[in-house]
């Protein structure tokens, strides 16, 4: 069992390993991609931020430049040295400045005094650097606050206008509302949702010049610290320090801040015309959202494909597993079957050795007894009889085993030959009779609806089948039981050349259990029941029977009930023999058939009608007597009466006696029976019975049985002998070529065949035989008798050579094998190579003569 589960374990293990591997690989992929996402975003953010800052700085620059040039324009249009009066000049400046969009204009003195021309009074937020730059004659910007608290962007260009109080100003100041700048620069991105960034403008100390978004402290540094308050203050300090360091070094600064899980990208760069810095901030929130969406989609896809691959894998494994499982099951089944077969064989062997030993013991024992009693012939005879019986039994066992081994090695072949069913039935009835008599059983044979008596079949094997079925019936039927064999025919579905023959063997014996019926046709099986134990046999009989019937392309069916009996039904489609049936005609007699089997009566009456006889029939003795008496009174006596021996009520013997008493002795009364005539002859003769016809009653049985009564000839009946006489062939003077290498065999054959009047020529081997035939005149030889084993050329080769000749008689000359090989296979080989027939040695003159007659006649006819 350990073996059986190991592939399963291996499969499960490898499935788990592959699944884990799959999950690991896909998990790693997902994580790797995720982490790289962040890096990529940071990188993209940095590039974007740099670009963004540059753009904003440039924009700032341009805007400031433009406004400074506008202010410069105002100053240039109305320079201080124009011929206008101071009053007019101021009016012109105000007018021009308003036209150019300024909301404020003032003179700025060298010491920082402001003389406003128009607009609200302004408080500069950080006047010192502003003043210093302007005094050094450079353009500059600054931030100022109105009394109302709103912030203004103040631009200054150097100019020297006269101020009130006699001073000369150092610069002309113009201001624009801070909102304008913010709008122009789009610094406050909170209003603009589509933009990702927002900016602050700060001074170096961190205080805001322009602030946007949610900044609420005055200093950017304060704001950063506030953002990190309670979280990671050291990081905030670090960030501020780094930022200040970058500011003083005049380098752009880029960093990523992580505030409460939200990442922001920060970029800081200095702005022109001021010591201001632009801080661009990009919260990653939106970007992160998009990328996270992408990332979660990606992970979803990865997990999905992982799941699909796992499913596919699982499916493949499941399929593979089920296939493996099936194979294992099939293997186990095959193993079980093999074990079963091997067990059956060993059981069979042990049974067989027991079965063989029993008769063997009898033989050995009886031989010993006989040897000890040589002086007592009666004792010896008794022993010999028992030895003969045991030997016969032993031979039967061995024959079965040999047949079975032939079947198992596929060497059993059928030799189809002309066969008379009548002869087959007669012979098996004769064989079974002693067994039936010994057990005092009732035995009956019936044939009806016979359409073709002569068929082509392997007679030996058919006999084997029938004897096997019948002896089983006898064996398994208790004393006094009854056994019935029936034969009938009907047209075959295989065509007109065939005849379907049914053979029924019935008994009322012990029957078989249904489980045993299923395996009765298997090899080496015998029913294991105590009442069968004492019955000997190999258990091969039914297997052999089934095999032979299968070879004959027939079928066998079984009906059986325990305690009630068994019926075997064999169906064979036999080829009809094309031998012309002898014309069977008897005088137009009137006959009476008496039998208790109605089918048999009807069938017999039909057969008799074909022979030319009118027959009445009846089922019992009493009515038979009445019918005979009536005909007697009508002076129209039956010519012959057929009487069954076993009849209900009055039996055949009694009926015959009664008939003789009433009608005298001139009517032949024939007994019909399946029993041996010998045992009842004396009794029957005594009762006045004239003769006996053995069942089964074929047409030919009836013809040959009744023919003798025709010779007494009434009303000029045709002599039946006259019909077949023309079939006789006279062999005198026929030329026969005999191929035989052995001198002695040749002499014997020559001596024997010379009696038939044949003219024999000898060929010493196959080659000589071929040459002699080749050099003979066409039609000179009437037949060739051919030994098979010869030197130089075998009989088989010689036959093939003769058949291959172009002569007109080469194809049709009868070639008959005469050899010591007598197996069906040898016979088949002879017939296959073109020979017409086969006779086994020793040479039997009658057989050879009959075959020569037959084949010479066929050639002529």
């Amino acid at each position: 069992m350990k073996k059986a589960s190991s592939p399963t374990r291996f499969l499960t293990l490898s499935l788990i390993v592959v699944a884990v591997l799959c999950i690991l690989v896909f998990g790693f992929l997902a994580l790797y991609m995720d982490s790289h996402n962040k890096d990529t975003i940071n990188e993209v953010g940095a590039i974007y931020m740099t670009g963004m800052s540059e753009r904003i700085t440039m924009h700032f620059d341009t805007t400031i430049d433009y406004n400074l040039s506008q202010l410069q324009g105002v100053a240039d249009a109305f320079p201080p040295d124009s011929r206008l009066s101071a009053e007019e000049l101021r009016e012109q400046l105000i007018y021009d400045a308003r036209a150019r969009g300024f909301t404020y204009l003032a003179f700025y003195s060298q010491d920082g005094e402001i003389e406003p021309l128009f607009g609200p009074s302004l408080q500069l937020s950080d006047p010192e650097p502003f003043l210093e730059s302007l005094n050094q004659n450079r353009d500059r910007i600054a931030v100022a606050t109105t009394p109302g608290g709103s912030r203004m962007m103040v631009l200054g260009v150097p100019a020297s206008y006269d101020m009130d109080g006699g001073k000369t100003c150092t610069a002309l100041l113009g201001a624009l509302p801070m909102e304008y700048i913010q709008k122009i620069l789009s610094l406050d991105t909170m209003e603009n949702e589509s933009s990702l960034v927002y900016c602050h403008v700060i001074r170096r100390d961190g205080s805001f010049v322009i602030r946007s978004g949610d900044a609420f402290r005055d200093s950017y540094f304060e704001r950063v610290r506030a953002l990190f308050e309670g979280l990671n203050e050291a990081e905030a300090e670090q960030h501020v320090a780094n930022l200040q360091k970058a500011m003083s070094a005049g380098e752009p600064y880029s960093n990523i801040l992580n505030v409460k899980g939200a990442r922001r990208h920060l970029y800081c760069t200095s702005l022109p015309y001021s010591n201001w810095y632009l801080v661009t901030v990009m919260p990653f929130g939106r970007l992160d959202l998009i990328v996270n969406q992408l990332s979660s989609q990606w992970i979803g896809m990865v997990l999905g494909s992982c799941a699909i691959i796992l499913c596919a894998l699982l499916l493949v494994f499941a399929k593979y597993f089920s296939i493996t499982h099936q194979q294992i099951t099939a293997l186990a089944d095959a193993k079980a079957q093999a074990e079963q077969a091997s067990k059956a064989k060993s059981e069979f062997l042990s049974n067989m050795s027991h079965d063989i030993r029993t008769p063997m013991n009898a033989i050995v024992g009886m031989t010993a007894i006989a040897t000890a009693n040589l002086k007592n012939p009666q004792q010896v005879q008794n022993c010999l009889r028992k030895i003969a019986l045991s030997s016969k039994h032993l031979l039967g066992l061995i024959n079965d085993v040999l047949d079975m081994s032939k079947i198992e090695s596929g060497k059993l072949t059928l030799s189809m030959d002309l066969l008379s069913l009548r002869e087959v039935m007669d012979s098996i009835v004769n064989i079974v009779q002693p067994q039936v008599r010994a057990k005092n059983q009732h035995f009956d044979v019936s044939v009806h609806s016979i359409l073709a008596e002569n068929v082509l079949c392997d007679g030996v094997r058919l006999n084997q089948v029938l004897i096997n079925l019948l002896s089983n019936a006898v064996k398994f039927t208790p004393d006094g039981g009854s056994i019935h064999i029936a034969l009938y025919q009907e047209p075959s579905p295989k065509g007109d050349a065939y005849i379907r023959s049914h053979i029924l063997v019935q008994d009322n014996g012990i029957g078989m259990a249904p489980e045993f019926q299923e395996k009765i046709f298997d090899s080496f099986v015998r029913e294991d029941r105590t009442r069968v134990q004492k019955t000997e046999g190999t258990g091969l009989g039914m297997a052999i029977t089934k095999y032979i019937i299968d070879m004959m392309e027939g079928s066998i069916e079984l009906k059986s009930t325990v305690g009630e009996g068994t019926e075997f039904h064999v169906t064979l489609d036999l080829e009809k023999a094309d031998t012309p049936e002898l014309e069977m005609i008897l005088p137009n007699w009137r006959m009476l058939v008496v039998d208790d089997d109605e089918v048999l009566c009807q069938s017999t009456a039909d057969s008799l009608k074909e022979i030319g006889i009118d027959a009445d029939w009846t089922l019992d003795g009493e009515s038979a007597i009445r019918m005979v008496e009536r005909q007697h009174q009508l002076r129209d006596n039956y010519h012959i009466i057929l009487l069954d021996w076993k009849l209900p009520g009055m039996d055949g013997i009694q009926t015959a006696r009664e008939l003789r008493r009433r009608c005298g002795s001139d009517v032949p009364i024939l007994l019909i029976s399946a029993y041996d005539w010998g045992e009842i002859e004396a009794q029957a003769r005594d009762a006045g019975i004239s003769g006996f016809i053995s069942k089964p009653l074929f047409k030919s049985t009836l013809f040959y049985g009744l023919r003798q009564f025709a010779s007494g000839g009434k009303e000029g009946a045709p002599s039946p002998e006259a019909v077949p006489s023309q079939e006789r062939v006279d062999l005198t003077g026929r030329h026969v070529l005999l191929a035989e290498d052995n001198d002695l065999n040749w002499e014997i054959a020559a001596e024997l065949l010379a009696e038939l009047g044949l003219v024999l020529d000898r060929a010493e081997n196959g080659q000589i035989c071929v040459d002699m035939f080749l050099h003979s005149n066409v039609g000179y030889y009437d037949a060739v008798l051919m030994d098979v084993r010869m030197p130089v050329m075998t009989g088989i080769q010689a036959t093939e050579a003769i058949r291959a000749m172009g002569r007109s008689d080469a194809k049709e000359i009868p070639i008959i094998a005469m050899t010591a090989d007598a197996f069906a296979e040898d016979v088949q080989r002879c017939l296959d190579c073109g020979m017409n027939a086969h006779v086994a040695k020793p040479i039997d003159v009658d057989t050879v003569a009959r075959l020569l007659e037959k084949h010479i006649r066929m050639r002529k006819g």
Binding site: A820, K841, I843
Partner: protein, 119 residues
């Protein structure tokens, strides 16, 4: 010695051969000729030369002759030998050859004495 006694000594079937050949004269004529039959010598030589094909044919011929003459005993042993040589040499062939030799002697000896008694 009569022919019947000779057949009994050879463990041969006298009744069968008489039934078939129908005349004691014929049987005796052929039976005595068996002494001159070359097949046995051919069998022995072939076996010694390990020419098993020829040996098979010789054994086969002996079997045929024995069947014709009703020499049951020698017929049986030569038949067994034939089968053991049918498809070349088999392990039992040598044993069967010894059996055939023994049966041959068993057959030839009575025949020889029958021949001697006739002269």
């Amino acid at each position: 010695m009569t022919l019947k006694e000779c057949y009994e000594k050879m463990e041969a079937n006298y009744d069968e051969v008489i039934g078939r050949l129908r005349s004691e004269r014929l049987v005796q004529k052929f039976a005595l000729k068996f002494l001159d039959d070359p097949s046995y010598q051919l069998l022995i030589t072939s076996m010694e030369e390990k020419n098993y094909e020829e040996a098979f044919r010789a054994a086969h011929t002996i079997k045929g002759v024995c069947q014709n003459l009703g020499f049951t005993c020698l017929g049986d042993s030569s038949s067994a030998l034939t089968e053991s040589l049918r498809s070349g040499w088999t392990p039992e062939a040598d044993r069967l050859l010894e059996q055939t030799k023994a049966d041959y002697q068993n057959t030839v000896t009575p025949l020889q004495s029958l021949k001697d008694s006739q002269q």
